[in-house]
């Protein structure tokens, strides 16, 4: 990513390799979040012997799938200095469309139509942001409200049971060696790998960072700013569809009232993962770690027998601590 080059540029040539490696680690935007995750895992392992059991680790991953996938879309959008308050609502709309259509026209049509609906909604956000030059926060606040209501209308305020092997496929368990997990978990990792690769190894990825970091400079150096931003919103629609599919794998019921906090939970994961809300800095690896921190915290504190209210306090405090550490380290390294 961008960090290694930065570290090498700033490190005096005389320092030893060890020192250079150490400063590179310390300057990494992932430093704070990775350490917090490791620390949390160590503490919970000490508190409860059940925590580190393979079954429990698998559980944490399964519980992270839907938010984890959506958080990738959120990361892409935040990297362009945007924000998407509607991403969870788009996914919920996706689950309703998928469940309704699957009942009437079979799974293949359902998947295709859901993809179309999610991409259209994502593109709508993108068009409003780029062509009309409206602030993403306002655009997606509006589309969130409208999409959530449209979802309830579409569902007739009912919950739909989902049938069909393909619809719930991502909920099926799979064994990797002795480790049992679900296809949804694998799908999540695939989404992270594909998007991580695209961000770090392609021209498109560099454009996304450039557009978020300094749009004026990006435009001057020939990046088609609007097209890049629009592409990110289109991709977020595709990712929302995958998340909808994963959600049906996890709970085979499409409920128009579900995932009301998904938008905020994805932002939480992105922020803990060290991606700057001002755009241009960060990445999906951090978001994965951020998602896992939240999952580990919720699972670990339950295992430790902690009341849910204390869990929310702990999550909230950790968000602030993680961001504070990250901000401090950033302030010292990059400016």
């Amino acid at each position: 990513m961008t960090t290694p080059t930065m570290a090498i540029k700033k490190t005096p040539k005389s320092t030893s390799t060890v020192q250079r490696a150490r400063s590179r680690v310390l300057r990494s935007p992932l430093f704070g979040s990775t350490t917090a995750l490791i620390l949390a895992v160590i503490i919970f392992t000490v508190i409860s012997p059940r925590f580190i059991a393979p079954g429990n680790i698998s559980l944490i991953l399964q519980q992270s799938v839907v938010i984890g996938i959506l958080a990738v879309a959120q990361t892409l959008i935040i990297l362009t200095a945007g924000i998407d308050l509607s991403i969870g609502a788009i996914a919920v709309m996706g689950t309703i469309v998928m469940a309704q259509v699957a009942g009437a026209h079979g799974p293949i049509v359902a998947m295709a139509l859901t993809l179309v609906v999610c991409v259209v909604l994502g593109t709508l956000n993108g068009v409003l942001v780029t062509l009309l030059r409206l602030p993403p926060f306002i655009v997606t606040l509006g589309t969130f409200t409208a999409i959530a209501a449209a979802t309830r209308l579409l569902a007739g305020s009912e919950t739909f049971q989902v049938d069909g092997a393909l619809m719930t496929f991502l909920g099926n368990t799979v064994s990797i060696g002795s480790f049992r997990t679900t296809y949804g978990v694998i799908a999540m990792f695939v989404v992270y790998i594909v998007c991580g690769f695209a961000l770090t190894q392609t021209a498109w990825g560099r454009h996304v960072y450039a557009v978020g970091g300094n749009p004026a400079a990006a435009t001057l150096s020939g990046v088609k700013t609007n097209r890049t931003i629009l592409s990110v919103y289109v991709i977020s629609g595709i990712i929302a569809m995958i998340a909808a599919w994963a959600a049906l794998g996890r709970i085979p019921n499409a409920d128009p009232n579900a995932y009301q906090n998904a938008n905020l939970e994805t932002i939480t994961a992105v922020v803990i993962g060290g991606t700057s809300l001002f755009g241009g800095r960060g990445g999906v690896l951090g978001t994965l770690i951020g998602t896992l921190i939240v999952g580990v915290l919720r699972n670990g504190l339950t295992l430790a027998g902690v009341d849910s209210l204390y869990q929310n306090i702990a999550t909230g405090v950790l968000v602030i601590v993680a961001v504070a550490v990250d901000q401090f380290l950033r302030g010292r390294t990059s400016r």
């Binding site: 409860s48 059940r50 559980l59 339950t302 027998g305 601590v321």
Partner: protein
């Protein structure tokens, strides 16, 4: 360079320390709440309680009653909750985490009567006794037993009282419903309509709105409904906050004397509102009884494998009003104030 590095290390160390303190602090409170040590839980009965949300006074009362019953039996209670009404994912995660923790039984007020069934099945397959509180699952035998209010009967009681209180006038009914699709909401709604002697498409029903049991939303909804049906004389409310919100709108419109309000819940605020004449009558539920019965059942199961009576166990309800009507059993607000929750 070295100084800056060590400064940075210091900051990082400070942050970790504060995180550690945070974990330490929550760990302590867990021990206080649980009563016993975290480690040796094999001999102590552990009970998980999962409510729909953790802020609603109804569920707070349920949690407190469960804690009291657990303490009395020397059992440990872990209370969890969804983040909002309809948070199936949150409840499924809570079930999984409790099973992972090795609880003996789980008491749950399901957000969705069918959305969390596979998680419940997994829990039961691992020998965990699962009891539904307040809201039945669909199908009902997805859990080992249900301890709940007969919400249809509660709705019938509300409807019958409202109808009788109209003194033979033609009913002009407005409905402040709860959450669309909710089992409890649907049962109460249907019960009320039956108690009124009406059907879903009777012309006497002049309007309805979803309030999600929220006072503010109910007030807005009632303001709008009164614009449409200014001569309404009877109001159904899904719960007492909705009744309070509805009354605020009715009073502002100067129609307090013209409209009879019925409700369900039995919170202390609700009973107080019945006493003040804001609500004509309310049907009291007993969340504490549900929780206590549930805890007792799980402790009995953990001790010797005794299972509770399967299916629906009615925890009862009482009509509370200071204006009793003939042929309908009711208690006054003095009795209500002694037995209310919240």
């Amino acid at each position: 360079m070295n100084r800056r590095l060590s400064q940075r290390l210091l900051v990082a160390a400070a942050a970790f320390a504060s995180t550690a303190v945070l974990f330490g602090a929550t760990g302590c409170s867990a021990d206080n709440a649980g009563g016993g040590g975290g480690g040796g839980s094999s001999d102590q009965v552990t009970i998980g309680l999962i409510t729909k949300t953790d802020s609603n006074p109804y569920f707070v009362n349920m949690r407190e009653a469960a804690q009291k019953a657990a303490d009395a039996k020397g059992a440990k209670l872990v209370a969890l909750a969804g983040a909002f009404d309809g948070d199936n994912e949150g409840q499924v995660s809570a079930i999984e985490n409790l099973v992972s923790q090795g609880v003996d039984g789980i008491l749950i007020t399901p957000n969705s009567s069918s959305g969390i069934l596979s998680a419940i099945k997994d829990a039961r397959d691992q020998g965990v006794l699962v009891i539904a509180l307040d809201t039945a699952t669909d199908p009902a035998d997805a859990v080992d037993a249900t301890f709940a209010t007969d919400n249809f009967a509660a709705g019938v009681a509300q409807g019958t009282w409202v109808k009788s209180s109209l003194d033979g006038k033609t009913p002009k009914v407005l409905l402040l419903d709860g959450t669309p699709g909710g089992t409890v909401d649907t049962l109460r709604h249907q019960g009320f309509i039956k108690g009124m002697g009406l059907t879903e498409d009777s012309p006497e029903i002049l309007g309805k709105a979803d309030t999600h049991g929220d006072q503010t939303k109910a007030q807005t909804a009632m303001e709008n409904l009164l614009e449409r049906a200014p001569d309404a004389n009877a109001v159904y409310t899904i719960n007492e906050p909705a009744a309070a919100g509805g009354f605020a709108a009715i009073k502002a419109a100067g129609k307090a004397d013209q409209i009879v309000i019925g409700s369900i819940d039995g919170s202390c605020t609700g009973v107080e509102n019945v006493k003040k004449g804001i609500i004509g009558a309310t049907v009291m539920q007993f969340p504490g009884k549900m929780a206590t019965s549930g805890v007792d059942a799980i402790v009995a199961y953990a001790k010797d494998g005794t299972k509770p009576k399967s299916g629906f166990n009615d925890t009862g309800s009482e009509l509370i009003t200071d204006h009793p009507v003939d042929g309908l059993e009711s208690k006054d607000t003095a009795w209500g104030a002694e037995n209310c929750w919240g």
